[in-house]
């Protein structure tokens, strides 16, 4: 019960991941993204070593398809995993085993993969894709968010007892190996995607201030002063 998208921005080469799920604190299980290397995200039944192992192989230069084969050979429960892989050039590969509960599936697009399980149906994947492609010139983080919203609005997750809300959600974008550009999370909330939009939009207001005070602290105003300028603007 998760729907996700991994993608590469062709103009900036940034890599990003968006995820929303009924499970809580899903953002804490997304370590498989590294700039200049690629993304691997395992979901449904997660084996936590998978994503970092895949990154190591991608870093060596192995193709997403070969990495997927190695993951399969390494895991007796491969059929229970849902895995998407994208390399630094945007080549993609995905696997939805027979184990994840229905409806489960994925769509591989040009430089991105949309995938999910325990969904209302294939229309959720279509909604993710449509949301992602709606504004191709937007920053990657907003395209990922639009993708998650598209998946939610197309019905999202449906379990044994009917619709399941998104309780956690996260967006990661990287353009540098050592720290993320965007790392916004909601870990436990009744409407996690709506809350994630609130967090992301607020963060974007602070983004440049936070960055610049790191680069040139001698020129930075205090955060209290910065917040005051915000309320003045409003």
């Amino acid at each position: 019960m998760t729907f996700s998208i991994i993608a590469r921005c062709p103009t900036t080469r940034r890599l990003g991941l968006g995820i929303a799920t009924f499970s809580i604190a899903a953002g804490g299980r997304c370590e498989g993204i590294r700039h200049g290397v690629g993304i691997c995200k395992t979901q449904a039944y997660i084996n936590r070593g998978n994503d970092l192992l895949a990154l190591q192989m991608l870093e060596q230069g192995l193709s997403p398809a070969a990495v997927m084969k190695s993951l399969e050979a390494n895991d007796p429960d491969h059929e229970f995993r849902q895995i998407a892989i994208i390399d630094r050039e945007g080549n993609a590969c995905a696997h939805t085993g027979s184990g994840p509960r229905p409806w489960a599936g994925h769509h591989i697009g040009d430089g991105f993969v949309a995938f999910g399980n325990v969904l209302a149906g294939p229309q959720v994947i279509d909604g993710i894709v449509k949301g992602f492609l709606a504004k191709p010139d937007d920053e990657l983080e907003f395209r990922l968010l639009a993708a998650l919203e598209g998946g939610r609005d197309a019905g999202g997750q449906v379990g044994g007892d009917g619709h399941l809300p998104e309780r956690s959600a996260a967006i990661f974008v990287v353009s540098e190996p050592d720290h993320p550009d965007i790392d916004a999370r909601v870990d436990l909330h009744p409407e996690a995607i709506a809350e994630l939009r609130r967090v992301l939009e607020e963060f974007k207001i602070y983004e440049v201030f936070y960055r610049d005070r790191g680069y040139r602290p001698d020129l930075a105003m205090s955060q209290a002063e910065f917040v005051a300028t915000l309320s003045k603007r409003a």
Partner: protein
């Protein structure tokens, strides 16, 4: 006797170098580029150990200034070197040692360094920087090329008996991979910068073909056929 534009592309994070010099085979020394790590170049009296060492320090996460300090501390002949270092964030440090010959100096800009020694004067360096900035709408490799052409046109190098021609030149760009995205050289030629431009314009028309051929060999046409079609198109365009 060299002039160089070393840079990081602010849009894509690619790192690259454009370089031209009276020395021959200068491309041999341009081993200071690595995607997601940084760019560095040691010239004048080249210490060939500097570039690999600087890349390792950049990979550790050291700032360009700290890398430069380490190179200096590691080299008793540091004052003979001219060095530029750019990290993966585009931060820059450069040094022109006091024992460089002729007019020697560097200009640091946002994400780039223009530098040279045994030059006609400061104008060679400022012209490179200006051309690189002015070409911001072009692709990264074209910006680098424009910079060294501007350096040449501003007078380039000047030795004991006056102007020195460019006998070798190189243009290199690295992205996310271990291999170069572009790596073009002229090793020995009377007008190496002109020859580099010629090689680039020619090669540029092949890039898509080479890439596609690698990805999808089954459907690739033979290269001589590609060349014949290319020449036909060029003739038609000329008419």
């Amino acid at each position: 006797m060299t002039f160089t534009l070393l840079a990081r592309c602010p849009k894509t994070g690619q790192v690259g170098i454009g370089i031209a010099t009276y020395s021959i085979c200068v491309g041999l020394y341009c081993n200071g580029l690595r995607g997601n790590v940084g760019a560095t170049m040691s010239q004048a009296f080249v210490n060939q150990g500097n570039n690999p060492l600087a890349l390792r320090l950049l990979a550790q996460g050291y700032t360009p200034q700290r890398v430069l300090d380490d190179l200096k501390a590691n080299d008793p002949n540091h004052e003979f070197r001219q060095i530029a270092v750019i990290d993966r964030l585009g931060r820059v440090a450069a040094s022109t040692g006091t024992k460089n010959r002729g007019w020697a100096g560097h200009q640091v800009g946002e994400g780039y360094v223009a530098m040279g020694n045994v030059l006609a004067g400061e104008k060679t360096v400022t012209a490179m920087a200006k051309a690189y900035e002015a070409a911001s709408s072009l692709s990264f490799e074209r910006r680098l090329l424009a910079a060294i052409e501007a350096g040449r046109d501003a007078g380039g190098q000047s030795g004991v008996d006056g102007h020195l021609t460019e006998r070798s030149a190189a243009l290199m760009v690295y992205g996310d991979y271990d291999h170069a995205e572009i790596d073009l050289r002229v090793d020995l030629h009377d007008k190496a910068v002109e020859e580099l431009r010629r090689a680039f314009e020619e090669y540029d028309q092949y890039r898509g073909y080479y890439k596609e051929r690698s990805k999808n060999p089954k459907d690739a046409i033979p290269q001589y056929q590609f060349v014949a079609e290319l020449q036909k198109r060029q003739q038609e365009a000329a008419q």
